[in-house]
Amino acid sequence: MYQYSDFDRAFLTERNAQFRHQVERRIDGSLTEDEFKPLRLMNGLYLQLHAYMLRVAIPYGTLNSAQMRQLAIIAERWDKGYGHFTTRQNIQYNWPKLPDVPDMLDALAEVGMHAIQTSGNTIRNVTADHFAGAAADEIADPRPVAELLRQWSTDHPEFQFMPRKFKIAITGSPNDRAVTAAHDIGLRIVERDGEIGFQVIVGGGMGRTPMVGKVLAEFVSGDDLLPYLEATVAVWNVIGRRDNKYKARIKILVHEYGLENLRADVEAEFALRKAQFTGADQKLLDSISQMFAPPRFDTADTGGFATVYDDDPVFRAWADTNLSAHRAPGYAIVTVSLKAHGATPGDASAEQMRVLAELAEQFGHDELRISHEQNVILPHVHKRHLPAIHARLKEAGLATANIGLISDIIACPGMDYCALATARSIPIAQEIATRFDELKLEHDVGPLKIKISGCINACGHHHVGHIGILGLDRAGVENYQITLGGSGTEDAAIGQRAGPGFSADEIIPAIERLVYAYLDLRTEPSETFLQTYRRLGLAPFKAALYPEKHALAAE
């Protein structure tokens, strides 16, 4: 893992001192809210529906146990004893008080963390595959490059006042777990003739104009990556629209200006910028890469794993659902679900954070990851430790066996917290999870991703949900629109709107009808919801969603 240098520590200390003074001047009335707002946003501080909210970056989703413990301490000392992990691998505290925020930032700095550029029209926290460095299918660990991008983009003088925010995601695996196609820039590590390079995808995004990103460059070598990205952001920064915030993202530039034109401008800009890169970035990348060397993997026998797997059905169900293939023999990747049925997706109590820290320290080479799907990952676990880990997770209410299933729902905070929301998301997620747990159906249904957003900004990724739910305000009443067939992986697709929305009372039965329709329509249990949808299209699902209309049409 990356270790902060003296330079990093000095930078954070100075930045936090600046913000402390800015907060003091806001409180004593020397700064107006209009003056203060851009300053607080640059430091991740929002004002939400009931309180301030501090969004802390977890760069590329990677944490160690000391950092996780500090997040727990912050939750207890300055918040209400919990934190909310988000779809951009951040953690949000929902109840900080303004005078306490500088202390919270200092506490974060003690463990090499910050909230810089988690908001504002800047390059945001760079996200990555949450299995990075551990996955069996990986070409290369994307995190050294992600860390290089974090350092390059942090306080980059050219990119502090851009037309709009800018989000970058990176994956080192052909199986895209980082939703790269829905980012302003998505990077996919590829191999060509034995050389590692990057496919650059541009102009993906969600929000009110969802777009799947397009390939800007098929192969950019490691040496060229940073000047190429800088050229891309610089071109958009200059010609991207600033007249309308809904048309300011780079996806609109790609759409209106054209991919070919953008590519030509980027290449011209790249030629100029490349000359200014003297190789210092590659030297820095080399030193960063050394810090991401894989841990010394244990070669012991997998011990009692097989016996417990055979004998304990609860352990077996969890192992079948929550483990993924690891690159090292005898190892597994453990995904810890933060989606206990009926709980708030992505929330962890301080006590749960401590349990996760302890497990990482004791059994997991001191590494943790946060996924964009709002779960926590122990990326490097030797299989002989799995029964002990499972037992400890059970005690902490963290052993739900539902990864990738219908109750493993992404939900944004929605109108329970967010000032921008048009409807609630969390209660809908809670009710769907509870309902399908009662029906004992979710393991029969198999892989199914439901994603819920409480407004058109789509923080809950509903556009790429196999079933997407969008909460809206229809004449002063919460209303939920369903989209179907979205996907956030390497075969990314935007879901299609199924028809008129449903009230809060109607949405759970509607989802139930959809799922029963899928169970009737699939050719065999191994055909997933998404595969069935792709084979048959919208019509049979629409008939299930709107039975009355379907009956009328048949008359």
């Binding site: 806001r26 409180i27 004593d28 009335g29 107006t32 809210e33 004002l47 939400q48 529906l49 009931h50 309180a51 301030y52 209400k80 929902n94 109840w95 008080k97 303004l98 005078p99 708030t344 109108m415 329970d416 917290y417 609630r424 969390i426 209660p427 809670q430 305000d473 002063g476 009443v477 919460e478």
Partner: protein, 99 residues
């Protein structure tokens, strides 16, 4: 014809903790909607909003919110204001716990 004016309260967030607050007829800020001044005149509403906005060292983001007049005082007419008055629905946090 312009729309008839409907009753309003002045609401904002408290600068220090971000909590939802309401302007009272006594020119103080209350954390309880039932203590808010109900404004039934449009010109008076604009004046009261200006009063609120001038207190930049106390409040953030003051605006006029619609209310209906109920038996115990003003009631929200939109669900967003209902949540602001109460707190989130997933935990017993916020105003519902504090009042």
């Amino acid at each position: 014809m312009s729309k008839a004016f409907t009753p309003k309260v002045v609401t904002a967030s408290h600068l220090l903790d971000g909590d939802v607050i309401y302007l009272t007829a006594e020119d103080t800020w209350s954390r309880r909607l039932e203590e808010a001044e109900v404004i039934e005149d449009e010109a008076h509403a604009q004046l009261r909003l200006l009063d609120a906005e001038s207190q930049a060292d106390v409040v953030v983001g003051a605006y006029l919110a619609d209310v209906a007049i109920g038996a115990t005082g003003p009631e929200p007419t939109h669900f967003r204001e209902t949540f602001r008055r109460t707190g989130p629905s997933n935990y017993f946090h916020g105003k519902q716990a504090g009042l």
